[in-house]
Amino acid sequence: MREGEDEWTGLMRLAISGDSAAYQRLLKAITPVLRAGARRGLARAGQPVDQSEDVVQDILLAVHLKRHTWDANAPFAPWLFAIARNKLIDSLRRRGRRVFVNIDDFAETIPDEPAAETASASEIATALQTLPPRQREVLQSIAVESASIKDTAAKFAMSEGAVRVALHRALTSLTAKLREQ
């Protein structure tokens, strides 16, 4: 087990108790590890590694939408890697690959290369275009313009509750669209 995994578990517990900043830190901390694992998995399947960011984003969405299946008394890393493997297999399958995913693709090591600050991927952006306008606007306001829930609510003359609902729906429908692709 790698150093930092205990820290992940602690951050996830905080996140579940409502600490969104801890949640954001956790997601940032796991992203380079997921990216390295996705690259390894794609390379093994003979797929271009530049698709790895799509896989990473796919995993992050699944982590987010399925985090209620994590048992807060269990360590976070095995749960995370199980989700990651599942999504990697899934996305290779969607690309028409008969796949074998090494169970250590994600758990193996810390990436040596300094991870890119951020990276871009196209699948979510494409799927975004097919969402209902209100969901898309809310998501874009928060994702692209980094507006807060409150500012977004003011901008679209919605209640904050309605923004939250639209945001969550946008994320679930994004996931559904990605699965259809």
């Binding site: 996140a15 409502g18 600490d19 969104s20 900043a21 949640y23 954001q24 997601l27 940032k28 992203t31 960011e53 990473v56 984003q57 992050l60 969405l61 699944a62 987010h64 939408l65 399925k66 985090r67 209620h68 299946t69 994590w70 048992d71 269990a74 095995p78 749960w79 890697f81 199980a82 989700i83 493997r85 599942n86 899934d90 600050e117 951020t118 990276a119 871009s120 991927a121 979510i124 952006a125 975004l128 998501l139 928060i142 994702a143 692209v144 980094s146 807060s148 829930i149 939250r164 945001l167 969550h168 994320l171 699965r179």
Partner: protein
């Protein structure tokens, strides 16, 4: 979209709380149950001599068996709805109903019987049993799959098969109150065939709908 932007968005949605899988499964089964129950009341109904039958321990045993199947399958299904879970250490729970049937057969063997063994095994209702249990399972299977879909099963076909066991166990509980064949030999022969059909259907559908 940049990954940082996605992360910011997910963090903004952090206050959203999903319901636990167990609660969603319970609600989905509760919604499905009236459909199976009304199919049962319209087409089969409780056997007319139920008041006397209740004094026959082998009639009562049928419910112990079918409910043991449903409950152990629910426990295993909820376990499998977590992505890092495997059947290891949990699969034996599904053997509980098998053990109860075996014990039932053993105790029936030790009692004097009016009918020969094969007659008890074949019974009078085998065809109804094999048709009714799968049909009564349909709404419940849908409910079980909807419930487990709320989880994140790493092996969708396996989780789907367990959804099949949940619904077959519950459907068999209804059917058992109609059926006049109470011999554990009958139960050990025909109920599993019906259950296997539902389980296979659950695995096939689960492989498609339980991927997350």
């Amino acid at each position: 979209m940049e990954t940082d932007q996605l992360i910011r968005t997910l963090a903004a949605d952090n206050p959203h709380r999903a319901r636990p899988v167990g609660l969603v499964l319970a609600l989905a089964l509760l919604v499905a149950a009236p459909f199976s129950l009304s199919m049962f009341m319209m087409k089969l109904g409780v056997r007319p001599d139920v008041m006397t039958a209740m004094h026959n321990p082998f009639f009562d045993l049928k419910f112990v068996i079918t409910l043991a199947l449903a409950i152990s399958a629910i426990v295993v299904g909820l376990h499998l709805s977590r992505p890092e879970a495997s059947l290891k250490g949990w699969g034996w729970l599904l053997l509980i109903p098998v053990g109860i049937i075996a014990a039932g057969i053993g105790s029936e063997m030790m009692m004097p019987q009016r009918l020969p063994m094969m007659t008890r095994l074949i019974g009078n209702n085998s065809r109804v049993c094999m048709t009714a249990i799968p049909l009564l399972s349909v709404p419940l299977l849908a409910g079980a799959l909807i419930g487990l879909r709320h989880g994140a099963p790493a092996r969708p076909a396996l989780a789907g098969a367990v959804a099949g066991l949940i619904s077959a166990g519950l459907a068999a509980t209804l059917y058992a109150s109609h059926c006049t064949d109470d011999s554990p030999l009958f139960v050990a022969t025909w109920y599993p065939i019906a259950t296997a059909m539902v389980t296979a259907a659950g695995a096939l559908i689960g492989a498609r709908v339980l991927r997350f």
